[in-house]
């Protein structure tokens, strides 16, 4: 049995890599993917904890989180498409008319 800590550390790494992706990428879609990565990291923790407690609740959370992720992706991609239509780009560092 692998200690739960391993999974947790892995999930932390994935979460932070995802967060880093959000911070450094210009392409809105990749940023969105970074967020997905973060969610996956969190999910991994849930499942690891569920195993640790021997309770299946954590799985349900993951199930629900995937639903949420799907919803978010739908909206996110819609917004990206809209952005592309409006400005012909998906690079969000070019979208900075609202500032100061």
């Amino acid at each position: 049995m692998i200690p739960v800590t391993y999974y947790l550390v892995l999930s932390a790494v994935l979460f932070l890599v995802g967060a880093t992706g959000v911070l450094i990428r210009r392409n809105a879609i990749i940023v969105l993917m970074g967020i997905e990565l973060m969610l996956n990291g969190a999910n991994l923790s849930f499942v690891a904890f569920a195993r640790q407690f021997g309770m299946v609740d954590g799985h349900i959370y993951v199930f629900l989180v995937i639903t949420v992720a799907a919803a978010e992706v739908a909206i996110g991609l819609a917004l990206v498409i809209l952005l592309f239509r409006n400005r012909g780009t998906v690079n969000i560092d070019e979208v900075r008319s609202l500032r100061w």
Binding site: V22, I92, D93, R96, R99, W100
Partner: protein, 644 residues
């Protein structure tokens, strides 16, 4: 005491009637010709009432000649209680008589002098208002009421000096008078506060009856502060500067306010507070020294002035100095006596001068100053009544026996000789100078060759009756007025004036009286010096001898002519710096430092706002980065909190 109070209960009418007159003139009367009548009538009524008081008072035994008449309770808070109440005693009665009597004559004279002025309604209401204030001053039974009158006369003086306010100089002079007076009043108020703090009351009776031990720690402070007040009002050096400028007012005003009554308020106050002053040797010395110095100082300036009214003004300052000298050496009666006689002859002098000016105003060509002695001369025959009455007054002020001035001045010098020989010498010298400059004035005005052109000479007329009658009356008083106080050496028990006032000053130690021979010697000496002064004036101004030009150094002459540069010194040392400080306070402290500091604080906040504002780059990942920083802080905090 009660029935006595009742029998005097009408005294409130004495100040009130002139006030009524002023009121009528301001609000009811629109007719300039009636205004003078109204004013005179009310003052006459007051004078009659004052006479009534006088006779009622001499009907009373010595010990009961002091009555408080309470009108109503004025200011009451806790332990502080001041009434509007009048004190009827010989001293206030003398003052009432002088004020209403001389005042009445001057009112009458004013009808002639000011009757043609477009604003004479206003003039008479001011004049009446002045009578009211002056009477409050002398009649009040407490310090605060005195202060009301004190400031009230100051106000009227301000208004009357500035009567011809469209003249810049008049407006300035009025303000100067008020402000300089205020400096004295400031000290006066502090004195009052000290009195209240230690004596617990401001009523004369309570204060004078207070245990000297209670007042002892502050008595010098109190008396000196009060005296500073008196110096302001009575134009003593160094607060004398306003009085010569006050001559900007109409001449009757100068006669009434700046010679006969208001300026003597200081003397009255010191005499009134003789109980307090007597407790402080320092204060007495100060009074005497200031008086003496003022006397000679002003006389010295008067020697060279060319403006007829300025000569008289400096003469007034000088004579007031005499009065203070008297008070300072403990001869309060003498001070008051001189106050009375001075009121007669100085009022007369001013009115005479007014008569001359009035005549010359119409006669002189445009651009020629009707007040300048150098534009006069030889008026003796053109204005005989004026000349004669002025001659009598000049003799009186010069202290020639048996005119009024002789007796009072003699008494003062006697007191000085006994108590402060050095000051006596000063007084003596002043006497000579007085004689000189007064006769200089007389000779330059009436004597010698006329300096008027033929056309002008033809236009000069003697003044009308309404002006000359008061002159004559006052001339009589100047001549015989002294006999109310004949010195002991001539006729024992004939000092009626001193006798009348005796109950007031009864608390003082018995004055030392030198032997009769000494006294007589002194008189002769005084007379000789006066005669010398007259001779000097005659030599120079009638004979045209320029002996003084050769004898006196130019510098001394200039010093006198330029009035010791006192105004200039004040301008440089006080007025200028105060103005600079005021500007500095405003421009530097207020605008730059306080307001600027606030602006700076506001700017700092704004620039902080701008600094943070520009972190808002609009790039979404920057925002995310900031969030991560926040998360890091949170985590650092948590782990730091529970860490090793």
């Amino acid at each position: 005491m009660n029935h006595m109070t009742e029998s005097f209960s009408y005294v409130w009418l004495i100040p009130f009637l002139p006030l009524l007159g002023a009121f009528i003139n301001v609000f009811v009367n629109r007719n300039p010709r009636v205004s003078g009548m109204i004013a005179c009538a009310t003052v006459a009524a007051s004078f009659l009432l004052a006479l009534g008081v006088f006779f009622q008072l001499i009907g009373l035994p010595d010990g009961e000649r002091s009555v408080d008449v309470v009108v109503y309770s004025w200011i009451t808070t806790g332990t502080f209680a001041v009434d509007v109440a009048f004190l009827v005693d010989p001293l206030s009665t003398v003052m009432m008589l002088v004020v209403t009597g001389v005042g009445l004559l001057i009112h009458v004279y004013s009808i002639g002098y000011m009757g043609k002025d477009a604003c004479c309604v206003r003039y008479f209401s001011y004049l009446n208002l002045f009578m009211f204030a002056m009477l409050i001053l002398v009649m009040g039974n407490n310090f605060l009421l005195m202060f009301v009158g004190w400031e009230g006369v100051g106000l009227c003086s301000y208004l009357l000096i500035g009567f011809w306010c469209e003249r810049r100089s008049a407006a300035n002079a009025g303000m100067k008078a008020f402000v300089v007076n205020r400096i004295g009043d400031f000290a006066f108020i502090l004195g009052l506060l000290l009195i209240f703090l230690y004596a617990g009351s401001l009523t004369y009776a309570d204060v004078f009856a207070a245990d000297p031990a209670v007042l002892a720690p502050v008595i010098t402070a109190i008396t000196l502060l009060l005296f500073v007040g008196a110096m302001g009002k009575s134009a003593q050096v160094p607060l004398h500067v306003w009085l010569p400028d006050a001559m900007e007012g109409p001449t009757p005003v100068s006669a009434l306010i700046h010679a006969a009554t208001m300026v003597t308020a200081g003397v009255y106050m010191v005499a009134r507070c003789h109980v307090l002053f007597a407790q402080s040797a320092t204060a007495m010395t100060a009074v005497a020294v200031v008086g003496a110095v003022t006397a000679i100082f002003a006389a010295y300036i008067a020697l060279t002035q060319y403006d007829i009214k300025r000569v008289l003004a400096y003469s007034t300052v000088s004579q007031l100095g005499y009065m203070f000298l008297a008070c300072g050496v403990g001869y309060f009666t003498a001070g008051i006596f001189h106050l009375v006689t001075h009121a007669f002859f100085k009022a007369l002098l001013f009115m005479g001068a007014g008569s001359v000016i009035h005549a010359l105003e119409h006669a002189l060509e445009k651009g020629r100053d009707p007040q300048d002695l150098r534009n006069m001369g030889g008026l003796r025959d053109l204005m005989p009544v004026t000349y004669k009455s002025m001659l009598l007054a000049t003799l009186a002020i010069a202290g020639i026996a048996p005119f009024a001035g002789f007796f009072s001045k003699d008494l003062i010098l006697l007191g000085a000789f006994v108590n402060a020989p050095a000051l006596w010498l000063v007084g003596l010298a002043t006497g000579a100078m007085t004689a000189f400059y007064m006769f200089r004035l007389l000779f330059m005005t009436f004597g010698g060759e006329t300096r008027l052109s033929r056309d002008e000479t033809e236009k000069v007329r003697e003044s009308s009756r309404v002006m000359t009658i008061p002159l004559v009356l006052l001339a009589v008083l100047s001549t015989v007025g002294g006999f109310i106080g004949i010195p002991h050496v001539f006729a024992a028990g004939m000092d009626r004036f001193g006798g009348f006032l005796a109950p007031v000053f009864s608390g003082l130690p018995e004055a030392q009286v030198p032997s009769a021979s000494v006294e007589l010697t002194l008189m002769v000496l005084t007379l000789l010096l006066a005669a010398a002064g007259i001779w000097g004036a005659y030599t120079v101004y009638i004979r045209g001898n320029s002996i003084f030009d050769r004898l006196v150094p130019r510098a001394l002459y200039t010093l006198s002519l330029e009035k010791f540069y006192v105004d200039e010194i004040y301008d440089t040392l006080i007025v200028g710096p105060v103005r600079k400080i005021a500007r500095g306070c405003w421009r530097i402290l207020d605008s730059a430092i306080i307001d600027g500091g606030l602006t700076l604080a506001a700017l700092t906040v704004r620039s902080m706002g701008n600094a943070i504002r520009y972190t808002q780059t609009g790039v979404v990942q920057n925002y995310a980065l900031i969030m991560v920083v926040g998360a890091l802080v949170v985590f650092a905090y948590i782990t730091g909190f529970l860490g090793p």
